[in-house]
């Protein structure tokens, strides 16, 4: 059966049975009292009956004496019989207190009957005088009977006094009990009903609150309903739905994030392509010219100049490639070295470059043009402004399943604020002074997108103590 239905049915049955119980008890009690009342009234009525019949007998006797007839005699007999019947009934009224009087009473009735009989007899014998005398006696006895009836009733009242008072007291008490019982049941039922309705409505309320939360978009709160009915089942289902929705939403969110990241990387690529296109005024012409210049210089015996021009041409060629492809660290390193070579020609002794490269790391894939802009940055900030120049160190090694690329200079350094600013990808305008047109922040962004982690690049710097840029690329990530 349904749980809530069962609860309601149980409640109704309990209430009904309480009511029925009380009704039965009170009715039984009332019935008992009613019977007592009936008994009492019966007693009084029986006593009165005797008086009535004795009067009737006297009247019939008188009637007969006036004008004797068989009919009247039979009527008299009937009355006498009635009286004797009443007498038999009065015998049942005997109790301790009225035994004496009741015996007297019964004897009086006998005396009356005897007197009546004598009256009739004397009348039949024609003895009018004695008949009248007996009739007078009968009349007196009738009077005595009436008086004794009153005495008996009086005695009855006295004997039953305590009993009557008890009945009255009891009925008053019963009334009071009724009032108390009613109020008690009312309060108990109210409490019970309240508790009972709470057991039904509380889970519903919880469910309502949970539904409201859900409608506000909060899917992380578990729905807990402890009850043993259908509401609990409903709540469980609801909770399962919540969990499902929650999972779906987080999935969608992840997808959206991925998509936005993809979008961003595309945008950045476009930007760098645009910038390189701007510098492609006549790239092939420039490239061919530079090549020609290199050969010309070589033929003129100026090997140094020829090499320099070849480096510039190489750098240019590298720069002209498609930027959206990952390259190996080896290629990156060679471009960076060409750049250093060009800059060494410019700064001569002022630029001191050191490199420590673990050859085994060179097959690592990384975005195109990442090393060169960082080194260029170091040159711009640590070498160019200083008269004595500066030194730049490049270290590539493997540690903790990652390839570490460190570019360290001994320039003026940066404040922590500036470092943060760069790492927050805020410096877009940095690319202006760069040879490749790609600034530091562009590199940072592209690296982060490529590896998919924030900590791919870090900068250690302090004003006056140089700057160290560290790029950490996971080995596993290089295959992706």
């Amino acid at each position: 059966m349904n749980s809530i239905q069962r609860k309601i049915l149980t409640m109704s049955v309990i209430v009904l049975s309480i009511m029925v119980l009380i009704w039965v008890v009170l009715t039984y009690y009332n019935q008992k009292t009613q019977e007592q009342y009936n008994d009492i009234l019966q007693r009084y009525l029986r006593m009165n009956e005797v008086t009535d019949h004795s009067h009737q007998t006297i009247i019939a006797l008188n009637d007969y004496m006036q004008k004797p007839s068989a009919l009247k005699l039979s009527k008299l007999d009937q009355n006498k019989k009635n009286m004797l019947m009443a007498k038999l009934q009065t015998v049942t009224l005997r109790n301790k207190d009225n035994a004496f009087t009741l015996t007297s009473y019964i004897n009086m009735i006998d005396s009356l009957v005897a007197s009546a009989d004598l009256t009739v007899m004397f009348l039949g014998q024609g003895n009018a005088e004695q008949s009248a005398e007996k009739f007078e006696e009968a009349t007196r006895i009738d009077k005595y009977i009436a008086e004794t009836t009153i005495t008996l009733i009086d005695k009855e009242v006295r004997t039953y006094d305590a009993f009557y008072r008890g009945i009255i007291e009891q009925s008053t008490e019963l009334k009071r009990l009724g009032a108390w019982l009613l109020s008690l049941i009312t309060i108990i039922l109210l409490l019970f009903t309240y508790w009972f309705s709470l057991s039904i409505t509380r889970p519903i309320q919880k469910l309502t609150v949970a539904a409201k939360e859900l409608s506000r978009g909060r899917f992380d709160k578990p729905i807990e309903v402890h009850s043993n009915d259908e509401i609990s089942f409903l709540a469980k289902t609801f909770d399962r739905m919540r969990v499902n929705i929650n999972n779906l939403i987080s999935e969608i969110q992840q997808k959206a994030q991925l998509e936005s990241e993809l979008q961003q990387s595309k945008l950045l690529l476009k930007e760098s392509q645009l910038i390189s296109l701007q510098s492609q005024i006549n790239p092939h012409f420039l490239f061919n010219t530079l090549d020609t210049l290199s050969k010309k210089a070589y033929l003129d015996g100026s090997e140094e100049t020829s090499d320099l021009i070849a480096s510039v041409a190489g750098l240019l060629r590298y720069n002209l490639r498609r930027l959206d492809r990952a390259v190996t660290l080896e290629e990156e390193l060679s471009v960076a070295l060409k750049y250093i070579e060009i800059q060494s020609a410019r700064f001569t002794d002022r630029l001191r470059f050191e490199q420590e490269v673990d050859e085994s790391c060179l097959q690592l894939k990384l975005p195109c043009l990442t090393l060169q802009p960082i080194i260029e940055n170091a040159v711009i900030h640590a070498v160019e402004p200083l008269e004595d120049g500066g030194s730049i160190a490049l270290r590539i090694y493997e540690r903790e399943q990652r390839v570490w690329i460190e570019i360290e200079d001994d320039g003026a350094g940066m404040t922590a604020e500036k470092v943060n600013h760069i790492l927050m990808e805020g410096g877009n305008a940095d690319g202006l002074g760069h040879s490749t047109g790609i600034g530091f922040s562009n590199v940072v962004k592209r690296l982060r997108l490529f590896v998919g982690a924030e900590d791919v690049i870090s900068i250690d710097s302090e004003p006056g103590f140089g700057t160290k840029v560290t790029i950490k690329i996971p080995l596993a990530g290089s295959e992706g």
Partner: protein
């Protein structure tokens, strides 16, 4: 808030529960016992003691004695009586007792024709034995079985002898009697006169008065007016002594008179203690009640048939003024 409300509700519930339970206990534990009905016929003897002076201490004592005896023999006894000597009701009571067919009637004898006809004709024809108590009615007039009470003749003699010893052999003696010349009064008078007869110097005046105090007072008054030189009063009927003394005290000292009474009621006893009454006859009312019931039962059981027709006399004695405490 919510908690306190709940607690108060719960407390209220408990209080109401308490009251309901007490009320319930009261209702259901009170076992109203209906006076038990006795269906068996009453087997013990039903006796009736009828008196016309229910209000006097004398009869209260008779009743007490009779009741004690009835209880002892297991007989049921009812005392019917009238107050203030209402004669019609008294006679009616006797008739009611007869038509009620009681087993025995113990009655204060009344020396009237109605009484005699009732006892003689009705009771005798119904076979109901009658014993007179305290006051007798001669057997041949009432057909009573016996008499239980004081010997009034002897009582008269005793008072008279006391009078002679107090007053001497000469003097005027007033014998105050009730105008209802009852048998016991006649016996007392006879007893007194029998004793006084040998003394010719003692003159006796018999004055009859009504039963009420006013009647007695006026009779005394009249007597004192007509014959002031009286030496002694004997209140032959009960209740007269007090009125006589009251009347005398209105005009002269009471002490010089010799006053005697046949009544030992509290009033006369007090008067005797005050020295106003010189002597009185003390009867034994309790013995009367007891013996009358005893004899009735004995007659009914056939243990003692017939009863002594002269009667069974109970103790009497003279109480003198000096002897009472």
């Amino acid at each position: 808030m919510r908690k306190s409300m709940f607690v108060s509700l719960f407390a209220g519930c408990l209080i109401i529960l308490f009251f309901t339970l007490t009320s319930m206990i009261k209702v259901f534990s009170s076992n109203l016992i209906e006076p038990a009905l006795t269906s068996e016929q009453h087997n013990s003897y039903r006796l009736v003691l009828i008196t016309s002076e229910l209000d006097t201490p004398f009869w209260a004592k008779v009743e007490k004695g009779a009741m004690a005896a009835a209880e002892q023999y297991g007989a049921s006894l009812e005392v019917w009586g009238t107050y203030g000597s209402n004669r019609d009701d008294f006679l009616k009571n006797i008739e009611v007792a007869i038509v009620s067919k009681v087993d025995g009637i113990i009655v204060q004898g009344l020396d009237t024709d109605e009484f005699k006809s009732l006892t003689k004709v009705k009771a005798a024809s119904s076979g109901i034995p009658i014993i007179t108590v305290a006051n007798d009615v001669p057997m041949n007039e009432s057909l009573r079985r016996t008499y239980v009470g004081s010997d009034h003749l002897e009582a008269g003699s005793m008072i008279a002898r006391q009078l002679v010893s107090d007053m001497g052999f000469a003097g005027r003696v007033v014998l105050m009697v009730s105008d209802r010349q009852e048998y016991f009064q006649r016996s007392r008078l006879t007893g007194i006169l029998n004793v006084l007869k040998p003394y010719p110097q003692i003159e006796t005046l018999i004055v009859a008065a009504g039963d009420s105090r006013v009647d007695v007072a006026s009779a005394t008054n009249k007597l004192l007016n007509e014959a002031p030189n009286v030496d002694a009063f004997i209140a032959v009927s009960a209740n007269h002594a007090g009125s006589i003394i009251q009347e005398i005290s209105k005009r002269m000292q009471v002490e010089p008179f010799y006053i005697y009474s046949f009544d030992d009621s509290p009033e006369t006893l007090t008067l005797m203690q005050q020295g106003k009454i010189d002597a009185l006859i003390a009867q034994s009312p309790e013995a009367m009640g007891e013996q009358s019931v005893t004899h009735m039962i004995k007659w009914l059981t056939g243990e003692q048939v017939p009863l002594n027709p002269d009667g069974y006399f109970t103790d009497i004695k003279v109480l003198r003024a000096g002897e009472t405490r």
